[in-house]
């Protein structure tokens, strides 16, 4: 594995690259605008059976028995599976590449064993000759449930009186195991300085509580999986996933197969945002295929996606800050409790690490809790847990700015983190661009132009996300016509085939169009972690750079052979190979390869964590108007400023920022899992789970600040996640300016805003 010891960022600035910073048309574009691109649900195979999943109608219930006989007798039904058909799970903890999970929990979430732990929890799977027959068969499976009282609220779940989800879950309290079971899975703490002393120094102390509802990633493509368990014992899975290799790991682990027996073919994926990292249908389809000897395709409907997959945790956050009259923040204390859902393991610690990360504060104490409740097991969602954390810190800082008589951007300038600043978790920042985003926001026409009119307000907020590195692989083969075929391991959810190919092209001095990128399956490309953590253009792009350097070395060899000189006597610049009077372009040399040693290919697998990943910062500005009679909020204008390190394909960087900001706006204003008292989600459709439509938004202006990340040859930083962090806080701050009341609970829907206006 080639590791990169922080290669210095390229000194090249704007315009000095030939490919990077341009906006070529994506290589997979035509297939996607003509409907030819094949997503998981589009797969057709001969002898294909169709599977459906039976789900628990109860939020919490003991499963006394399951009778599948009637279902098996329905003509067209070929097999039914329950948890009993799966190998028993031990206490093993599985590393899924991005995060870890207890195997028992992993299996327990695929098909419920003794207990159904949330409404929508999968209980059985059916394979039949048509989807309609499979759906009818679900109605013929009779499950004997003993309903148990559910607990849905994170704080209620923490109380000793709360119903227990797992009698074998003992709190890991700062490394010590508690003596009696509880719904609190884990307690972590970050400490810096001495908050007690810090608060003593403060001229004023501010303290507020915040709540956020569980929300879903909302990708438009429902989950899908097709499995074929061949007679030779090899299992092939076609699925729309953020990571073919993590699907392979999970499936092999759950079914207790050697990893080499499982091949995962990533189909095109219709959005993920973190939600398509865990497996749900894949193992069920696999076992159904083993039972029937035929390929089995399973699709979720939208309600199943809401009730049976992994949304992001609801949260309770209490935050306290001490400030000097100058606006300098001298101490911060935070208590964060996140809903893990039915099984432990929410990314709650990410919220802990982000909550005051943009600021240089001397004394910090942060406590975080991972709490199980009778809701779907949560998954990652775009900067997991950071948005609800930032709602608290960025709203409180707005309050402090007002008290200190300071402009909201200036107070962030005054307290802002820079290179060398140490976070609460102890890490010191390398070169970061937070202050630069504040400068750019301050200078933006949006911020300069006064906002006029009644019930209108402007808010700002900032956000931080680490960005991940992880492992990626790329293989590049030179074709005789001078093009390069590139196989990479990162499923392409937003144009990354192209942003990776552009980096390969930049190094080789060829055009982006001359690279033929392809996403490989688990048997055709080296190990690659998930498309997530804002890592692909950074990490898989780095692998492409390394692979290109490998190709370039081989090409030099070939040129040297051709010219009968030593390889080190061949110079290469911008794709032209030279020795004395001899010179060949990459294309020309490619055409001669068979005369001087044969075809050339290059390969690289990198562990991008080892280069020091560049963290991402964003500052957003929003103007909005509140209807005082109805409480409805209209977004008038939105500007998102972000340090992107180096924008490889600026259009797709802008797109990530616009999309992230829009998801944050939806989260702020309307999106939520709405539960009745029995723990049933009442709004599990796109009609009542209200994601923003085109009519709910203005254009989203973006400003790309480029402070190169030290760890990447081109200075790339992850850009996908941080834009979802500031919006709810920025909107809460703007609503305060508009109506004079601060809201501390998401969503800030019309009913809540109206209640605030009417003082209810």
């Amino acid at each position: 594995m080639s590791t990169m010891k922080s290669a210095p960022p390229s000194s090249k600035g704007k315009g000095e690259y030939r490919v990077i910073g341009t906006r070529p048309i994506r290589h997979d574009g035509v297939d996607k605008v003509t409907g030819r691109a094949l997503y998981g649900a589009d797969l057709q195979l001969t002898g294909l059976l169709h599977g459906r999943v039976l789900r628990s109608p109860h939020a919490h219930a003991r499963i006394r028995s399951i009778d599948i006989q009637k279902a098996l007798q329905l003509p067209g039904v070929k097999a039914v599976v329950t948890a009993a058909d799966f190998p028993p799970a031990g206490d093993k903890v599985e590393d899924l590449g991005e995060g870890t999970v207890k195997l028992r929990d992993l299996c327990g979430n695929i098909l419920a064993g003794e207990k159904a732990l949330y409404r929508g929890h999968a209980v059985a799977g059916v394979a039949a000759t048509s989807p309609h027959i499979a759906a009818q068969a679900l109605g013929l499976i009779s499950v004997d449930y003993e309903p148990l009282p559910p607990v849905l609220d994170v704080r209620k779940a923490m109380s000793p009186e709360a119903p227990l989800l797992h009698d074998d879950l003992f709190t890991d309290d700062l490394g010590e195991q508690a003596s009696s079971p509880s719904n609190i899975a884990k307690h972590l703490r970050h400490e810096k300085g001495d908050v007690g002393e810090g608060f003593k120094k403060a001229d004023k102390i501010f303290e507020r509580e915040f709540e956020t509802a569980m929300v879903h990633q909302g990708y438009i493509e429902p989950h899908n999986a097709t499995a074929h368990w061949n007679a030779d014992g090899n299992l092939t899975i076609w699925t729309s996933t953020q990571g073919a290799f993590t699907v392979r790991t999970q499936v092999a682990t759950i079914l207790q197969l050697p990893i080499s027996r499982v091949k995962v073919i990533p189909m095109e994926i219709g959005g993920g945002f973190g939600g398509k990292i865990p497996v749900y249908l894949e193992p069920v389809a696999a076992v159904l295929s083993r039972k029937t000897g035929r390929p089995v395709k399973m699709l979720m409907d939208r309600t199943e996606v809401f009730e049976g997959t992994g949304p992001t945790p609801g949260s309770y956050v209490k935050i306290k800050m001490g400030a000097l009259k100058s606006g300098r923040i001298v101490a911060a204390e935070a208590y964060l409790a996140y809903e893990a859902g039915a099984f432990a393991g929410s990314p709650f610690f990410c919220g802990m690490m982000c909550i005051v990360a943009p600021y240089d504060i001397e004394n910090i104490l942060i406590d975080g809790y991972d709490v199980v409740v009778n809701k779907p097991k949560t998954a990652a969602y775009r900067a997991p847990c950071a948005t609800s954390a930032a709602l608290a810190s960025e709203t409180l800082i707005d309050e402090i700015a007002e008290w200190a008589g300071q402009d909201p951007l200036s107070i962030r300038q005054l307290n802002g983190a820079k290179e060398g600043t140490r976070r609460a978790d102890g890490l010191a920042y390398s070169r970061i661009g937070f202050l630069e985003t504040l400068d750019a926001a301050q200078a933006h026409p949006h911020y300069k132009e006064p906002l006029k009119g009644p019930y209108r307000g402007r808010g700002v907020a900032s956000g931080f996300w680490f960005n991940c590195g992880l492992r990626s692989s790329v293989t590049a083969s030179v074709n005789p016509d001078g093009t390069v075929s590139m196989i990479e391991g990162s499923p392409d959810i937003g144009g990354t085939r192209t942003s990776i190919a552009m980096q390969l092209a930049e190094v080789l001095g060829i055009a982006a169009e001359d690279v033929r990128p392809q996403v490989g399956d688990t048997d055709s490309v080296g190990y690659t972690d998930v498309t997530g953590g804002s890592r692909v253009t950074f990490a898989t792009g780095y692998a492409a750079i390394q692979a290109a350097r490998d190709v370039e070395q081989n090409m030099k060899q070939r040129a040297a052979t051709l010219w009968e000189v030593a390889p080190d006597q061949v110079q290469v610049s911008e794709g032209v190979y030279r020795n004395g009077k001899n010179s060949l372009t990459f294309k020309e040399l490619a055409a001669k390869l068979n005369d001087c040693g044969g075809p050339v290919s290059g390969q690289a697998t990198v562990n991008a964590d080892e280069c020091g990943v560049g963290g991402g910062f964003a500052t957003h500005i929003v103007d909005l108007e509140v209807d005082p009679d109805t409480g409805k909020v209209t977004i008038l204008r939105y500007t998102a400023v972000q340090d992107v390190g180096k924008a490889i394909h600026p259009s797709y960087v802008e797109g990530q920022i616009q999309g992230g900001a829009t998801q944050g706006i939806g989260w702020a204003l309307n999106e939520e899992y709405y539960y009745d008292e029995k723990g049933r989600m009442a709004n599990s459709s796109f009609l009542d789970y209200r994601m923003p439509t085109a009519l709910d938004l203005p254009m989203i202006d973006t400003v790309l600040v480029e402070v190169p990340a030290p760890g990447h040859p081109f200075g790339v930083r992850g850009v996908g996640e941080v834009p979802i962090v500031p919006p709810p806080a920025a909107i809460a701050n703007a609503i305060y300016r508009a109506i004079g009341v601060r809201l501390h609970r998401l969503p800030m829907n019309p009913g809540r805003v109206l209640a605030a206006i009417l003082g209810r």
């Binding site: 922080s6 610690f349 969602y381 900067a383 978790d425 953590g533 964590d609 080892e610 020091g612």
Partner: protein, 85 residues
């Protein structure tokens, strides 16, 4: 000697000390020397020949494995392994 930042869940083992010095040519050596001074800390950090699942180690801001070389001036942190969407 490299500086090791002790996360709060391990502070009990170091008697509440949050920043300790330890020597070693690799991260594994450093953990061994920590084990000598603070018995029990190794099994909280290492499982078999790798870091415990869910745990990440940063040497001078880079997330690394046990065989990562450590300089005398290095700064070492143990953190939860990050995830993202």
């Amino acid at each position: 000697m490299a500086i090791v930042f002790i996360p709060s869940q391990l502070a009990k083992l170091t008697g509440g000390v949050r920043k300790v010095e330890a020597s070693g040519r690799t991260l594994r050596d450093v953990i061994d020397s920590l084990e000598r001074d603070y018995p029990g800390i190794r099994e909280r950090l290492v499982e078999g020949d790798r870091l415990r699942p869910g745990l990440a180690a940063a040497v001078d801001n880079a997330f690394v494995g046990l065989l990562q070389p450590v300089e005398d001036t290095s700064e070492i942190h143990f953190l939860p392994a990050l995830q993202g969407g």
